[in-house]
Each structure stands twice: as C-alpha cells, then as structure tokens.
Symmetry: C2
C-alpha cells in the first residue's frame, strides 16, 4: 500500500511525503503527536498534523535557531529553550563550551519522551546523560515568571501560533522573556514564513518592538516547512546580530555545521524586499 | 470537482496545488505544455509536467536571474536570454536603461505564443511592442555559434537537464557561451536545488570552472520549485559578483523589486555549508 502524508500549507497548496511506517501515534493533554518513517526525510514528527522536524532537514532549523544568538552574545553561560521537546536545539547549544547550563522547558512531556525513544539523533542531549542540561515539563510562561533576570539567551522553539503556542506570540509573553533575560540578553523566536504568513509576522514584530530595543529578522531555507522559506526573530537588549557578532569565534568554532557558517550569519539578515516589507514599521 | 496537480520532486516527495481550470494543454515538437489556473499561485505554466513559473512567485526567479548580473556588469548594452520563453527575464532586463538590445532565443515557439496569450504580465516585453527586444525561435547552441564576441550578458533560463535542455549543462555549450560573450562578459544559468540536486550541481560547476575564471553560486527561495531552495551560477571573465558589484547603481535604481535589493545581492552569495560543499573543488 502506497501511503502519502499531505500537509496543507493553505487551503490550496501542500507538501506530500511518502511514508512507510507509523512509529507512534497518540494524544497528549495538549496535542496529537505522530512520528512516522519516510523515505525522503527519514523519521518525521508531527504535532496536530503539522511537520515539526524530520531527520534529514532538522539540521537547518536547529543550526539557525541556536548559533546566530550564541555567536553574537559574548559569553552565553545560561540558556533557556521554551518548547523544543525534540531536543535538537539543546544538542546544538551543548556544542558551545561557554554554556554552563541549558534548560529545556517543554509543556508536553510526551514530546520529550517519544523524541528520546524515536528520534535519538535529535534527543541525544536531553536523554539524561548530559549534566549541563536540565529538563522542566512546564508551561513556558509559568517558568519564566519564576526565573527573572537569569538567562543570557532564551530560544522560543515553538509551534505555530495556534493551539498551545498561541500565547508565545503575544506582547505580554515577550515582556516576561525580557525580564527573564539578564541586562545584555538575547531572545530568538521562530517567526513563520515571510511568503505565507505576512500577517502573523507583522503583528509578531510589532509586539517584539514594543519590548526590545533591537529586533531583526533573519531567514533560512527549510524544505519541509511551508514555502521552504522560514524566518527567525532576533530580539536583543544590547547586542546587534551583525555589528556585534563575534566572527572569529564563529569561524574558529571546534564543531562542524552543515547549514550555519560565519559568512551565512551575515547573509541570513539580508532579506528579500517583500520580507522586509512584511515587518516595516 | 476538486482537482489537485501534484509535481513529484523525487519518488518520495512532492508539492500539490489546487487547480481550477486548464487554460491550455498541448504538445509542441519538443515538449508537453500546460497552462492552468490555480487559487494559490495564479496562472501556472508546466513543461513536461514540471512547474516552470507561476504568477505569484515568478518575481523571485526573474529578479534573481537578471539583476545580479546586470548590476555587476558596468555597462550591459547587449543581453541574450537562452530559453525563458515566458518573457519574465526579458521584462526585468528592460528595466535597465543601459540595455540597448535584448535577444530572446527560445527553441519552442509554442511557449512564446502561449505565454503572450495566457501570461501577459510576464510576456509584456516579448509581445512585439518593445523595439529593444528581438525574438528568435531557434536552438540556443546554433544561435550562439553564429553570434561570437557579441554579448555583455548571457542568461541561460533553461528547464532541468532532461529533455531539450540537456545540452545546456555541458562543457561544450559553456565554451560556446564564453566565446559569444565580449571580453568582459557574464553568464548566468539556473543551477537547480542544492538540497535535492547535489550531483547535477557538482558536474555543472566542474564544467563551468573548466571554462570561466570566475564561477560563484548564489541562492534564492522559490516556493514552487523542489525544496523551495534554488540556485544560480554566476560565471564571468573579469567581474566578480560581490567585489565588482555596483552597489550605488543598484541602490539608486529607478524601479521597484519585490525580491532583489542591493543588500540581498551580497547575501545571496553567502551559502549554507552543505551548498558550498556540493560544489567544492
């Protein structure tokens, strides 16, 4: 039997992916979780029917949500990831020797549990073996309310602004993140597709600018996400993502990156005109 | 009836697009041509079942195959487009006041004819109204053999290296292009997806480097192309695409571009590591 999973990116377009096996399918308190085997992308995790990560292209998303901030902040010792239960962001953060502690705050324990079981290459740093990693199964808002002025970098590794993640795109949340950061802290949040989600981007960047003095959008190609053209919001109290970026530290890093590099760091902020227009003030 | 057109990007993944109407479907001497109406992308042209252009995202491809070369060459007077029968590249070339003549050499007259009929926003400069444009329905190889040392810029606006375009990816063809260019000429060719077509890229860039002293890859997001991550090869006798780029001329251009801009011009050449690796010597 030839089984294809089709994710609609709007009413009128979608990506269709051949699957060979369902590894897990179940419902948590928050959402539907499916992990399937595909021929093109390896194992693939879906939340509420939307592709979150695949083994073949997750390196792009995880390189790009972590390294731009960690090579801009001069001394990132304490990092918080909100969401990101697959563990890929934590795995990349752990490659930075300056980081003393990374905290994963994921609302849905089932995502962590099944990622450890079925996505071991992503979850390698959240399986209990790494003393520099702490896991909290908790609501991100509740967690940061209790941890003010504590983090150098906070990554909002969330799903789309529907379902459990909707609060993570609002100004009140950004204010809490701002005060959970130290005086020179940086926040990164995935910020949807400039091609399909102009309205979400407009309101999200407006909300971010109400809170952070520096807000810049950067881009990455993610083949399994809508349009393949994805973006991240770099929000910061002091450091600018290209002017204050530590080019030499990035260039001399002691680990390989298949997407990120010190040239691309700058190029990622050079946006197509229509993407700049989406967030023009 | 709910009709969806699915283009497979490999045996195991594809894009699926809702169509509402078939405007033209026919076979030329060279290939199958279909033009359909879609809800998401407007009108869409397919050759042998592969998406070539859509009204909604063609601005990206046509900005990026034309403006990087035309803002690098200091005085592009005579430009040749091989392929590109939809007319989008010619439309963009015409925005450069330095260009005295643009020649379109398309092997398949049916593509030109039906683009003028059904894709008027793309074909606006090839419908006979523009005295700076000449059309030749001819094989690109035969044409450049007869026009040596003549062009400032040549754009190879081809389909994939299957069917009628296969010869346009070979070293012999690049040698002919080289000698059809003036002593400071530039050639641009679309060079497939770094994500899906590593093998094609490897051989294509090897062939280009055997002929041109300067060969650089640059990137663009094209949502309706495989993976959404597409590339172009910048090949040149003298001018380097970022060192010799005329930033001020690009910045002060007297026309709007929805994708290209003078910052993105540089950023487009800052590639992900895996894309650089595809074409490493």
């Amino acid at each position: 039997m030839d089984l294809w999973y089709t994710e609609k990116h709007s009413d009128n377009v979608g990506i269709t992916i051949k699957t060979t096996k369902t590894l897990f399918s179940g419902k948590s308190q928050y959402q539907q979780l499916d992990i399937v085997e595909t021929l093109e992308f390896g194992r693939m995790m879906l939340l509420d029917g939307l592709v979150m990560v695949t083994e073949r292209d997750e390196f792009i998303y995880h390189d790009m949500i972590t390294h731009p901030a960690l090579f801009t902040h001069p001394n990132p010792k304490k990092v918080l990831v909100i969401g990101g239960g697959d563990g890929g962001s934590i795995r990349e953060i752990m490659k930075h020797p300056e980081v003393e502690l990374a905290v994963l705050c994921e609302i849905d324990g089932l995502v962590i549990e099944k990622s450890i079981e079925y996505l071991p290459t992503m979850a390698s740093a959240i399986n209990g073996s790494n003393p520099r990693v702490k896991l909290h199964v908790d609501d991100g808002l509740a967690y940061i309310r209790d941890h003010q002025n504590e983090f150098d970098v906070i990554l909002v590794d969330s799903t789309d602004p529907i379902g459990p993640a909707v609060g993570l795109f609002e100004e009140n949340f950004y204010r809490l993140v701002f005060s959970a950061l130290k005086d020179d802290g940086i926040m990164i949040a995935q910020s949807e597709s400039p091609f399909y989600h102009a309205d979400i981007q407009k309101s999200m960047y407006h909300n971010l600018r109400a809170v952070f003095p520096i807000v810049e959008m950067y881009q990455a190609f993610i083949p399994t996400y809508p349009s393949g053209f994805w973006s991240f919001a770099f929000s910061s109290k002091i450091y600018h993502p290209t002017k204050d970026f530590d080019h030499d530290r990035a260039k001399n890093r002691n680990f390989k990156t298949r997407y990120y590099n010190e040239e691309l760091h700058r190029g990622a902020f050079m946006l197509p005109t229509f993407a700049r227009d989406n967030i023009a003030e």
